[in-house]
């Protein structure tokens, strides 16, 4: 078997730009009053407008404008005073009108940026434009697309507001691309404009990638990759593509400008269509909508009400709460989690302890990016603070506290109530503990002997035996000092 020579990826620079489509969390669709909720029975969330029936006209959803202006401002974009919708044409049955109302020459916002953290540093990635459009429906094939005898269409999703954000080609590696997407998602989730769920398709990503010789000014031929439905897939697909293109260039081949589909199961990209078959979308200004003019006061009000964004909050968690950057990073992955943490710290002002408990216990039972679950949990920040107070004042041990945490999470009861009901209070009575220690020493001459022979590890075994005898309720510090004292006398 001939081993292929490793590609000389080092001699190329990777250039990546991402196009991210985000479904907005508006109650109704982009151009009609139909609901946008996910998971309803097929074609139940439709009306003549989103079904593209003859004679219907679109009406712009004001919330969608507000959500995208909010996002644009969070990215530092210039929000255009006037923007326009345009029709983008292609034939596909998931699109009821066979054109999509989108924006083309006059987008909602342009020229912003997003900061990402890579290799321990911060890098600013330019955002070229942000615009609004309507989503399409979903095709369901009986079997595969090629062999299907019939295809069904569900138009529930058709007309859901979709915000497209195009980055500049300033990402230089698959890792940077993944970091960009994470940071991007965090901002959207923080703003509450998108649920960020990539599995359900609320957030979708396409990538443009090309390679060029190091130091070259001209961009290489770009390839568009579609179907990147997770952070991991973005990175894997781009890594595959870097290698594929590098090998091709090494072999003196020409990169074909084309669209490639990422096959996550097989771990490769394959050609979908090349430029020769590229669509001519025949864009033209949507005549059914008048140009959208945004009052400066409207934009200013949104600006004034922007929440603290993930990066700023992360920095504040380090500076104000003294958290390690890692903790700050984990705790700011969603707005709900960060707010949970801060609320708990207000009641129990030891930030690092709260951080440890949130990261090791809360995130074990709840996904950190599940805003709804974090907001809804019965184990509220003040209940967590109550639990930590009981540990802090020695009422219960840290070990017992973990069991109490579980019970609190399930029942929603206060820590104090559970501790009282189940008699979990720490044994901190010296007299009682001394008697137990005496019993343990008497019943276990072997480790006592070991200790006397200088094997200090034997003390640990004895502490464990005392803890076992107290069903974990003994104060470990106290056990330690009593043991120390008795062993030295023995």
């Amino acid at each position: 078997m001939n081993a292929r020579p490793a590609p000389a990826t080092k001699s190329y620079e990777t250039v990546i730009g991402l196009e991210v489509h985000a479904q907005l969390l508006t109650r109704s669709k982009m151009f009609c009053g139909c609901p946008t909720s996910f998971g309803a029975a097929p074609n139940t969330q439709t009306c003549p407008v989103c079904l593209g029936m003859p004679g219907v006209l679109p009406v712009i959803n004001r919330s969608a404008i507000e959500f995208s202006v909010k996002t644009a401002l969070a990215f530092g974009c210039r929000v255009n005073r006037a923007c326009r919708f345009a029709r983008k044409h292609y034939y596909y049955p998931d699109m009821p009108k066979n054109y999509q109302i989108s924006q083309y020459e006059e987008p909602l916002a342009e020229e912003g940026w997003l900061e990402i953290e890579v290799g321990g540093g911060v890098k600013r990635i330019g955002i070229q434009r942000l615009h609004l459009e309507e989503d399409v429906g979903k095709l369901v094939h009986e079997g595969t697309l090629e062999t299907a005898h019939a295809s069904l269409v569900d138009y529930n999703r058709a007309g859901v507001p979709l915000m497209e954000t195009v980055s500049k080609p300033e990402l230089r590696s698959p890792e940077e691309a993944a970091a960009y997407l994470r940071a991007f998602r965090a901002v959207l989730v923080y703003l509450g404009v998108c649920d960020g769920n990539m599995e359900e398709g609320s957030l979708r990503c396409d990538a443009n990638i090309s390679l060029r010789g190091r130091g070259a000014k001209e961009l290489g031929t770009k390839v568009e990759i579609k179907n990147l439905n997770s952070f991991r897939n973005v990175q894997r697909a781009l890594e595959f593509e870097v290698e594929r293109q590098a090998r091709a260039l090494d072999a003196g081949e020409r990169i074909v400008q084309e669209t490639r589909l990422w096959d996550a199961d097989r771990g490769y990209t394959r050609s979908m269509r090349s430029k020769e078959y590229a669509h001519d979308y025949r864009y033209f200004p949507e005549p059914d909508l008048v140009p959208l003019e945004l009052e400066p006061s409207f934009i200013a009000e949104i600006q004034a009400n922007l929440p603290e964004l993930p990066r700023a909050r992360r920095q504040r968690f380090v500076s104000q709460h003294g958290l390690p950057p890692y903790d700050a990073d984990v705790l700011t992955q969603s707005r709900a989690l960060a707010e949970y943490f801060e609320a708990a710290v207000r009641d129990f002002p030891n930030a690092k302890v709260v951080s440890n408990w949130v990261m090791s216990e809360l995130l074990r039972v709840l996904p950190g990016d599940d805003e709804a679950a974090i907001r809804a949990t019965k184990l509220t920040p003040s209940r967590l603070a109550g639990l930590l107070t009981l540990v802090d004042d020695g009422t219960i041990s840290g070990k017992i506290a973990k069991d109490v945490f579980e019970k609190m999470f399930r029942s929603g009861d206060d820590a104090a109530a559970i501790v009282k009901r189940e008699g979990l209070t720490q044994v901190a009575d010296t007299g009682a503990l001394e008697r137990i220690v005496d019993d343990v020493l008497a019943a276990n001459p072997r480790p006592v002997d070991d200790f006397k022979k200088g094997r200090s590890a034997a003390k640990g075994a004895l502490v464990g035996l005392v803890m076992k005898a107290t069903q974990g309720k003994a104060n470990p510090g106290l056990v330690n000092s009593i043991l120390e004292e008795k062993l030295s006398k023995a």
């Binding site: 003549p48 003859p54 006209l57 009406v59 295809s151 059914d288």
Partner: protein, 491 residues
């Protein structure tokens, strides 16, 4: 010939009919039955209707009877039997737009104007024939049947609202709704000798009007006289939350503007609208009409609209471009015609569109697709939009000097079926009407005489944006000062 001096119920105007309802001398049901009887007896000759909604009409008429009996009629249209161009969606009633591709399509909703008419108590007799997707000037491009001009059954009624115009002229409806994209209300009104009003763009909602060219489509009434046109406009005009291009300007009481007084109104007569090639009868009738207006006290002067020559070219880029987009949705997937047997999706769509669309529609889809294509957009669509702005400025300049523009509606009178086989000669029918569509200005056509062959001739009055009141006032004053309406076609 009728010997009875008293006109038949189906010969009355809306206001005469409603006066009769109020007086108790007849009822909406009697009028509706008279129209339905006349449709049954004569529409096979005229071909005005694609669908007659007998049961619905009678039910609406009975309800109107009840309101009159209780003394609570809804207003000036209550119980008036209307025809609706088949371009408007009507809930539960087949809507074809004159196209086979929409065969069997029953909309689940009413167009806003249909809702407004129904709320005003109007009775809907049925849906009228039209050129397929409103593309044409003769109604010969209907996917279903030919419509004949009641003045001469060998001739076309004009188009695309030919069925509506023929229905009103042939006493098959008291009034009708039509649409005007390049002249499709005013031109058939002129050919059939009825009143056709195209309001300002945005004055009347387009919601539920099956789109041909969105930036040019206007809804307008076809009526027996100007007063009726004012009454209908008053009912259907106004802001519609479903149509973002409709405007919030208050709707005036148009009928109150019909004072008969035109003294001091400045009227411009554009020299470009009197061309050597036009029908001399039309030229003579319109000149005489202008003299009548002068006699009534209006001041006239010759003006120039130098962009007139470019109107058709601009129109035939913008309208097909928008149409190519608007008609993309007819693919056999969701409603209307689907041709089976395709080997895949694209094949099914191709077969459906090949079979469902007529030649003229296909021609315009091709024209429009080309005009919007990458590399041609700037040269065609982009440039046409710029020239459209110039056409608009032409009118603005004119309206800085005069209050209204008066001109012929069409260069000639109704032609014979099959006479305009060449698409270009058909397109040139719109030469005097496209300007007001491109500029979005209100225009009306009223009868101003007859050709030597006894065919009606239309006088066009164009006004400033949202100045329908003055357009109607002058048209009404002219109508009152002349007696052209006394003559009726005999079926």
């Amino acid at each position: 010939m009728k010997t009875d001096a008293k006109p038949h119920l189906t010969q009355l105007t809306i206001h005469e009919l409603v006066d009769a309802y109020r007086a108790g001398s007849t009822t909406p049901t009697a009028a509706t039955e008279a129209y339905l009887a006349r449709i049954a007896a004569h529409d096979d000759k005229v071909g005005g209707y694609l669908t007659v909604t007998r049961e619905e009409a009678l039910a609406q008429a009975h309800a109107a009877d009840e309101r009159y009996r209780k003394g609570i009629p809804r207003g000036p249209l209550d119980g008036a039997p209307f025809a609706i161009k088949d371009v408007f969606c009507t809930r539960g009633i087949r809507t074809t737009c004159g196209s086979k591709i929409l065969d069997g399509f029953v909309p689940p909703y009413d167009a806003t104007v249909v809702t407004k008419l129904k709320e005003a108590g109007a009775v809907v007799l049925g849906k009228t024939n039209m050129d397929e997707f409103a593309m044409g000037s003769s109604t010969e491009h209907s996917g279903f049947k030919l419509t004949r001009n009641p003045w001469d059954l060998a001739r076309v009624p004009g188009g695309s609202s030919g069925g509506s115009a023929a229905a009103v002229a042939g006493d098959l409806a008291v009034a009708a709704l039509g649409t005007d994209t390049g002249g499709s209300v005013r031109q058939p009104a002129a050919f059939c000798g009825v009143v056709g009003l195209k309001p300002t763009y945005g004055r009347v909602s387009r919601y539920g009007l099956v789109a041909f060219a969105s930036s040019l489509d206007h809804v307008g009434p076809l009526t027996r006289d100007v007063q009726d046109a004012a009454l209908v406009l008053e009912t259907i005009a106004g802001l519609d939350p479903h149509d973002s291009t409709s405007v919030p300007e208050a709707v005036p009481h148009y009928a109150a503007a019909l004072t008969g007084d035109v003294r001091g109104i400045k009227i411009g007569v554009p020299k470009e609208y009197f061309t050597p090639g036009m029908d001399p009868d039309v030229q003579r009738s319109v000149r005489e009409a202008i003299a009548v207006l002068e006699k009534l006290g209006a001041a006239t002067e010759e003006i120039s609209l130098p962009m007139t020559d470019y109107g058709i070219a601009v129109y035939y880029i913008i309208a097909p471009a928008e149409a190519s987009s608007n008609l993309a949705r007819y693919d056999g997937v969701k409603y209307g015609l689907r041709v089976p047997g395709g080997k895949d999706l694209i094949d099914m769509v191709s077969r459906t569109r090949a079979a469902g669309f007529g030649a003229e529609v296909k021609r315009r889809i091709v024209l429009g697709t080309y005009a919007l294509s990458a590399g041609y957009y700037d040269a065609y669509y982009g440039r046409a939009q710029k020239v459209r702005t110039l056409v608009r400025r032409d009118f603005e300049r004119a309206f800085a000097r005069v209050d209204l523009i008066v001109a012929p509606t069409t260069p000639g009178v109704a032609f014979r079926h099959g006479e305009r086989e060449d698409p270009l000669s058909m397109y040139l029918n719109d030469v005097f009407t496209v300007g007001a569509d491109l500029a979005g200005l209100p225009g009306i056509s009223v009868r101003c005489g007859f050709s030597a062959a006894g065919l009606p001739i239309g006088l066009q009055v164009i006004g400033r944006a949202f100045d329908e009141s003055r357009v109607l006032r002058v048209a009404h004053a002219y109508e009152q000062a002349t007696s052209w309406l006394e003559k009726r076609p005999q079926l």
